[in-house]
Structure formats: C-alpha cells, structure tokens
Symmetry: C2
Subunit: 219 residues, 2 copies
C-alpha cells in the first residue's frame, strides 16, 4: 500500500468527533430530525435534546432553515476532511477509488449517518445556502468521476458510462446511512471492507477486477 | 432469455401510468414535495398544481400525513407490479437478479422517481401506516437477499455478506431517482443497462462475472 494512502485506522481515532460545542448540537439535532422528520421536529424539542434553553439554541442558529444549513455543512466538512482530502493525495487511481469508498463507508457507519442523510434535504435550504451545498457535493462527485476516467484511460473500467458508474458508487455508499445500525450483527470494518470489494467489482473490467484480490490481502 | 423473464419493452408501455385520478394527483403532489420539501409544501399549493380546489383535494386525503402515506403506497404498488411480481416468476437466480435491477432502474428513470424518494420519509407517517410501508419494503428487500443467497449456494457470489450486498444494490438503484434527469444526455435504456451491468459485477464472483457478457448480448 502506498504510504500516502489513508487507512481505516486513521479514521478510527476519536479525532472524528473532536468538533466544538456547535458541532455537538448539530449532530444531536440531525439524529432527532432523522428520527422524527424535519417537519415534526420543533426547535424546542431540539433544544431539549441538546440540553439547552430555547434561547441557548437560538444563540447558535436563527431558524430551523439555518440549522439545516449548519447540519449539511458539517456533513460536508466531515466528508472533505476524512475522505476527499486524504484521497486527493493518493496518486494511483485504483488505490484512490478504494480509499474513497472505504473511508466514506466507514464514516457513514458512525452517527454521522444522520448528518449525511440530511444533505439530501437541499430543497429545504435558502437559495444561497443551497447553491453552496450543491457546489460542494458536485466537487466531491467530480473526484469520483475523474478517478473513474483515469481507470478508463488505463483500460481498467467496464464499458459503462462514468456518470452512471460514479452515481452508482455514491448511491451504494450513501445508502449505508439508511440501513446500518451499530447495534446489529455487522461490524463497521466488515461493512466498509465488503462495500469496497463490491464497489471495485462494480466498476472494474475483467482485467481490473483481478486486482481486487491483491487489494483485499493488504494488511 | 427465459420467456417468463420481463423485458424493458414490457415496462415501456403507457400501462406504467394508467393509474386513476387519485394516482395522478399523488404523482403531482410527489413532484412538488420532492422539489420544495415536505414542510414547505402546503395543501393549497398541491391543490393548485393538481388543478383542484382545496375541498377537492380533501376529498382524496384528509391530511398531509395521509397524502404522504398514499404517495408511498403508490410507489410500493408500482414497484411490486412492475418489478417484484414479474421477478418472482423468474426461476434462475442470475436472470431474476438482473430482471430486478433492470426493471427497477428503468422504473426510477420515470417520474416515479419522486414517489420513490418519498418512501424514505417513513418518519413523517402515522405509526400504523409506517408499519405497513416498512413491512412492504422489507418483503422486497428479502427477495433481493434470498436471490443473492441462491447465487451463493451456486458458488457465484463474491465473499461478501449478503445483507451488505443486497443493500448496496438497492442503494445504487434507489439513487437513480436523486440524480437522473430525462432532459440530460443519458437515455433511460442506457442507464438501466449500465446499472444492471454494474450491479452484477458488484456481487458476482470471478466465475459468475463471466456470465455478464452473455446476458449483455441478449436481444
């Protein structure tokens, strides 16, 4: 493995959640909204869950719409810090693709899943805020697709459209937030490793697919 | 191809949308809710879009919560009619898996995408209604997973957990509703065919993967 390639261990540190007080509040709010629905979750209920007075909550955000923007921004921050930035440092496209899928899968098995699901709720944001989130998502998508284009140039990609392939990989990874439960029988490592194998098998051609085994045997 | 196996052509008939007046209203409501968010979409706005008076809309549903249940029920009806039921008639597991992915992908490139996305909003449903939708989703998920188990018995599956694999396939297919636009450069057939190839590559082992090409050459 290239020494610049991120490892699961790098993510498994407490560092993932060394966010500030505001971040802590956004994570609690995201879990509650995910459970009850955005409509049904009042600012009072969020304040209660975060052990704040209502005035205390309004110190952080002026409205539910602004809260949604803060939550989605935090989700994008975590994605960029733990997945996108480390992956940009990986030169070899197959290593990079595997790093993206592995790290992103692992991130989504944490309680950050609720944050990630809310990045879907762009319709509920103010237009200016929506533009910011859409642009950040677009930039992350482009990294996946350009990595697939590199694999295509090397003759390692299936004969499929790279836009379809990039969204398929993103979809299978993002879906984790909707089904994975840490209380269930599957460990985070198992889910991330299996999804990485599934994802590479999904897009690599016969020749490329032969390399999965090698990757699977890494320490 | 087995004669019981569904084809893309079967779905491409106007039959997909031969729903009644109520179904027509639910589809319009779903598109509006998808675009604006559930919270921001009033019953008045839905009535306007459906060219009904507010009283006319209340003839069909008593509340926004009931409307959401009707929308998600319609999404499940379409899935079961056009994907699950035809697939249950396909005996060979690889043919069945390909039929599920192909037909479901094709279904989601239609405007039914907005309906499908709202099946995620179970948190907004009344408890009894939520139970019904969750049970229907579970039954459809079980068909995918049991098909993967059959492929495992035949030695055609990658060494991955079948729950992880089934959710991965479901995620990549469900994601279509979030990104595909009929106004974009990709045809519905192209998307469905590419996703079917990606999905089989994702889960089949080396031996099994060799069969994709054969399937791809079908008429």
């Amino acid at each position: 493995m290239s020494s610049t390639s991120p490892t699961l261990e790098a993510l498994a540190t407490p560092d993932l959640f060394e966010d500030d007080r505001a971040g802590h509040i956004y994570r609690i709010a995201a879990k509650l909204i995910h459970k009850q629905g955005f409509d049904a979750t009042s600012m009072s209920a969020i304040a209660d869950a975060a052990e704040l007075t209502k005035a205390g909550l309004y110190y952080y955000v002026k409205s539910k719409k602004e809260l949604l923007f803060k939550i989605t921004s935090l989700a994008m921050d975590l994605l960029e810090k733990h997945v996108v930035e480390p992956a940009r440092g990986v030169k070899e496209p197959l290593d990079r693709l595997r790093a993206i899928v592995l790290q992103h899968s692992y991130l989504l098995t944490h309680e950050t899943g609720a944050l990630a699901i809310l990045t879907d709720e762009v319709a509920g944001l103010e237009p200016g805020d929506r533009k910011i989130i859409v642009a950040r998502k677009r930039s992350d998508f482009d990294l996946v697709r350009s990595t697939l284009e590199e694999l295509r140039s090397d003759g390692r990609l299936r004969a499929v459209d790279t836009t379809v392939a990039a969204f398929s990989l993103l979809g299978m990874v993002m879906w984790i937030a909707r089904w994975y439960s840490a209380e269930g029988p599957l460990s985070r490592d198992r889910v991330a490793e299996d999804i990485a194998e599934i994802a590479l098998g999904a897009v690599l051609s016969g020749t490329g697919a032969g390399q999965i085994q090698t990757l699977g045997n890494r320490p």
